[in-house]
Symmetry: C2
Subunit: 186 residues, 2 copies
DNA sequence: GTCTATACACCGATAGAC
DNA sequence: GTCTATCGGTGTATAGAC
């Protein structure tokens, strides 16, 4: 992994633990054993780093969705894989989801990052909506007239549980997911 | 309203739009037409201001719950009043919920504030759980074995929708609440 | 209770040498 | 690609006069 990739990787961790304005070029330089100026060489402005983090997140989402979609499994299993990925990549490290982290700093983000965030949200909402719709069509979930609204309930439950679990413990995440399952089935 | 109250009132707005680390004593001093040093006179350290904001939020919650509990109305109506208060106090001003704002900055908050936040969470979870349980007992909502997990789904849907509405528009909030209603009834 | 003045650490950012 | 050195701005916080 080259320096540029290391910067993005460490920044992605910091984004998820402290928010976009919660870490600095100095933090990065200390972690990598280089100077601030060297970090600026790779990402001249922090906005450049921010957009790279948005790309990193998009790749993270797209690669994840690809893995959740194994042929032959139920639609609920796909959502469970999504939740398990959240457990592995966020919950276990006491991190938030990177999208939530960006939303928290929304009013202090440059416009380009706000637009990139909107794209990320839609990628996630589209995927979850599609899975939910497929589950409804297959009779796996209760009928719903607005799959996108339903997707919102699922996504917000998941992300909110990651937030709260940092303070109240990981069990809260699993409880929340379990209750959503009972709501949507039968 | 005296200066101290004005500081808290303005800080509460800033907390909900920019997060706890997203505003400074300089911001407050400019808004009130006094100097930074005068703000420090009322709240020597920012942590002092932060704890005052937690108290303000607790009062905001408790007063709200009192108003939502009118005798004779349905349990769902109580939750709707909760959502309407969120609309009035947060959504209409493009603000997040103050509790969400604090969660976003969690890892940068002093320990006393983290503990105060935990108390706030529990006050809210207790109230929503109690209303949900009453609704289940009355046959108004579907049975659920874990009212607190169910309360999490509701609260996270509500708070997440406030987050996303800042970027995607207010309609998302109402769509999300509507879908939760359909999930929990029948 | 408010002011001026100041301290010190950190922030993002740039110039220029190697 | 990394370094030293530096810039202006901002953050929390304090001392001391009025």
């Amino acid at each position: 992994m080259n320096t540029k990739q290391q910067i993005v990787a460490y920044s992605a961790d910091m984004l998820r633990t402290r928010g976009f304005n919660g870490f600095s070029y100095l933090d990065i330089s200390r972690e990598l054993g280089i100077t601030k100026a060297s970090v600026h060489h790779h990402f001249p402005k922090k906005q450049d780093l921010g957009l790279a983090l948005c790309e990193w997140t998009e790749e993270w989402l797209v690669q994840g969705f690809k893995h959740f979609e194994e042929h032959g499994i139920s639609e609920w299993d796909k959502l469970q894989r999504y939740a398990r990925a959240a457990t592995k990549h966020c919950l276990s490290e006491q991190m938030m989801c990177p999208i939530s982290a960006l939303h928290g700093d929304l009013n202090k983000l440059p416009l380009e990052m706000q637009q990139a965030l909107q794209v990320l949200d839609n990628i996630e909402l589209d995927w979850v909506s599609r899975v939910l719709q497929a589950g409804i069509d297959a009779g796996e979930f209760k009928a719903a007239d607005d799959p996108r609204g339903l997707a919102s309930v699922f996504i917000f439950s998941c992300k909110g549980a990651l937030y709260y679990a940092r303070l109240h413990g990981k069990e809260l995440f699993h409880q929340t997911m379990q209750q959503f399952e009972k709501l949507i089935k039968e």
